[in-house]
């Protein structure tokens, strides 16, 4: 398009004024056209006459500015404190809890059937396992049954698992009811505890606070028992579970029970004592128990001086167990022979080791009496 160079400066004022006015009137025409479109739309949509409401109806919809009420005049928490009476159980329920309560009460809704099934399963399990034990009197005791119900809910999943595996249900070594029957049925319980970790992979733990000392000991002989930081539960996997180190297991065994608790090396001893005579194996195990406990002490305490001896011998001790066994069975009183014994001074060393343990635990009396008997046996 050919543009002629035009300059505005050449025009005089009046002409410029006229030009400006023209542009202005163009703009105003556009504005009017815009208005026309707006009105036309308002008429078409039916909101053209809305600004002509009468004063009375205007008053009705005025903005409300009172406290406790929104701008429409509605109260916010009107139904908060209301209580409804359930038609099923005739209880008075808070309004906000009414719907879930009704779901459970009528037995409809997704969760209620699940919960009912679980309850049936667990009550079946419980009644089956405990019908022949004297725990039945627990049921009559209100406190116990309440507590056990609550615990039963938590252990529910354990029982459900076992049920699916078709195990004899004696699952919960850690339920509070168990401790009563434990004294009579220690052997049985041990067996069951043994089978549990191997037969189901459910990795829940056990809370060590609920265990009696005997239960604890039996648990520690067969299971890992390391206490998890976040859940405060003991690991129920095998003694060689890969999640925890032997260090941790030793720590637990020192920490929880008295020094008479069973110890880690039992596993190795059991494994390696297959090659020996039964009596020797037994003696070996007993001996190793004490050695093990003395081993625990060094790993824990940095303060005890006796521990330096023991800590050195920790690793060699594991590897040299056969030699230890041989030498112990052979030499008897002279004890650990080469490096096996902590401090390797035979009974002296083990008693020393054992004594170092109680020094940490401030229970000086404990292990001394049994030690001579072990060596007596071996002699």
């Amino acid at each position: 398009m050919k543009m002629e160079a035009m300059s505005l400066s050449g025009l005089d004022n009046t002409k410029l004024e006229a030009l400006a006015h023209d542009i202005y009137s163009d703009l105003v025409e556009d504005a009017c056209l815009g208005l026309c479109f707006e009105v036309h739309r308002a008429v078409k949509q039916g909101y053209f006459f809305l600004d002509e409401t009468d004063q009375d109806s205007m008053k009705d919809f005025e903005i409300v500015d009172q406290p406790g009420v929104d701008i429409f005049g509605q109260v916010y928490n009107q139904w908060k404190n209301k209580e409804c009476v359930c038609p099923n159980c005739s209880r008075s329920i808070a309004a906000s809890r009414f719907a879930p309560h009704l779901e459970k009460c009528l037995g409809m809704g997704r969760n209620s059937s699940r919960i009912a099934n679980r309850r049936i399963a667990s009550s079946n399990n419980m009644s089956k396992s405990e019908s022949d034990q004297e725990d039945n009197d627990d049921i009559n005791d209100n406190d116990w049954s309440y507590g056990s119900e609550k615990k039963a809910k938590k252990r529910k999943s354990d029982k459900v698992f076992l049920r699916s595996l078709k195990q004899p249900v004696l699952l919960n070594p850690n339920s509070p009811r168990r401790s009563k029957s434990l004294k009579h049925k220690n052997g049985e319980l041990n067996n069951n505890v043994n089978t549990d970790p191997y037969k189901y992979n459910y990795n829940s733990g056990i809370s060590y606070e609920t265990l009696g000392p005997e239960e604890l000991r039996s648990l520690l002989t067969t299971q890992c028992g390391v206490i998890s930081e976040h859940t405060k539960k003991m690991c129920t996997r095998s003694l060689r579970c890969p999640q925890h180190t032997d260090e941790q297991r030793r720590t637990v065994r020192v920490f929880l029970p008295g020094p008479s608790a069973s110890t880690l090396p039992d596993v190795d001893a059991v494994v390696e004592s297959d090659g020996y005579d039964v009596s020797d194996g037994q003696a070996l195990m007993n001996r190793l128990q004490w050695d093990g406990s003395s081993d625990i002490s060094p790993s824990d305490s940095a303060s005890s001086k006796a521990s330096t001896n023991n800590s050195d011998s920790k690793k060699p001790k594991k590897k040299k167990k056969p030699s230890l066994g041989l030498s112990s069975s052979g030499t008897g009183g002279t004890g650990g022979g080469t490096g096996g014994g902590p401090g390797t001074a035979g009974s002296g060393s083990s008693s020393q080791g054992v004594l170092s343990l109680p020094s940490r635990k401030k229970k000086p009396k404990l292990p001394a009496p049994p030690t001579p008997s072990i060596y007596d046996d071996m002699n």
């Binding site: 505005l8 025009l11 002409k15 023209d22 815009g34 208005l35």
Partner: protein
């Protein structure tokens, strides 16, 4: 005068190109609403409808309503 009209056309074109026209329009719209010009204009236009036209239309509407009383 064609030169002036040419000039005007040119100026308008320039205005549009630079977006200034749009800005001016918006500004005008805002100002007119502020000062109530639009409402006045609406009322005025309503009043401007001549009586005869209004009467005729009202008649037609009444007839229609009477005809279709049951809706």
């Amino acid at each position: 005068m064609s030169k002036e009209s040419q000039l005007r056309a040119l100026v308008n074109q320039k205005l549009i190109e630079m977006g200034e026209r749009e800005r001016l329009k918006e500004l005008l719209r805002a100002r007119l609403i502020e000062c109530g010009w639009k409402d006045q204009l609406k009322a005025h236009c309503k009043a401007l409808v001549p009586d005869s036209v209004k009467k005729e239309l009202l008649q037609r509407i009444r007839a229609f309503l009477a005809q279709h009383a049951t809706l």
